[in-house]
Subunit: 152 residues, 2 copies
DNA sequence: CAATCTACTTAGCAAGGCTAAATAATCCAG
DNA sequence: CTGGATTATTTAGCCTTGCTAAGTAGATTG
């Protein structure tokens, strides 16, 4: 409705909303595009995402993991159930506080994560491979910015 | 493992994969972050996404819609069931070919889309509002690039 | 006009999210 | 040192979203 009067001013509301809307739509389609690769590996995206936290960040409690993955505890309990059933992670009782459960990635988990990552992102990486350097820079910058924004 | 030797060369494999991986993870977290807003509106993301195609692109068959949304026909049948139940879209038999079903957004659908978009992206737009102009530019550029890449 | 193909729907499965409520352990007041 | 609150996780149960396989109805074609 109202167009931004100057480019240097604080971003006007409407364009920001349009950008947000397109981003949202993009995220939906991006995930649908890679889902089949995930399916092929037998390990779904949320599993790999949680596993990734464990592998790169070390053992975590269920609650910490839920926080990191932005889901509620019961959802994480189930994800960990599945990881454990597949031998990718295991629960350990915290000796300090027996209410807590520490979750740790197994060696198999580390290996599966590596393979899973590779398979999961193959299609996406293939598409990105066609980008120019400038385009890749834009994608990388935006990713960094958005990671920060979503954490906050 | 191997760092890019020059910034101008064609992007090496490993960095592209890391970018793809981070993008994927980002998409997961972005969608989780906005899901509650969707929930509040009573219209979920896939519904709004499909409705958006109808509103901005005009009536479509179930198959076309499924293709546009990158899901299988049965999934789209169900989404359209829900849209229709909510009075946001309606099915029309194709007079040329009675197997086909054309789906059209209703006036209510158009209105709900507008409201839903606003509500849905409010949280995201609020986060984006804190970005600098350069950061917003990066986000916009990357969005455009990725939209193109995912269509291809 | 019968076989086949196409478009959609139905049925049924699993994942992934949620809330509410149960269980268990810790903490802290008195 | 006990009893009530608080915290961590799990269980139960709901809903949505995806899928595949199989069913139905309409078009096409040999």
């Amino acid at each position: 409705m109202e167009k931004p009067s100057a480019s240097a001013a604080s971003p006007a509301g409407a364009p920001t909303e349009e950008a947000a809307d397109r981003l949202h739509s993009l995220a939906i389609h991006l995930l649908r595009a890679v889902r089949r690769e995930d399916d092929a590996s037998g390990v779904t995206a949320p599993h790999l995402s949680a596993l990734s936290v464990l592998v790169f960040g070390g053992a975590r409690t269920i609650g910490e993991l839920a926080g990191a993955e932005q889901v509620r505890a019961p959802s994480m309990t189930r994800i960990v159930d599945n990881l454990e059933r597949g031998g990718l992670a295991l629960r350990e009782r915290d000796p300090r506080d027996a209410r807590r459960v520490r979750v740790r990635a197994t060696d198999t988990g580390v290996q599966v994560l590596r393979e899973g990552r590779a398979r999961r992102i193959a299609a996406l990486a293939a598409k990105l491979a066609g980008l120019t350097d400038d385009e890749m820079d834009a994608v990388r910058s935006a990713t960094a910015v958005l990671e920060r924004v979503l954490r906050g």
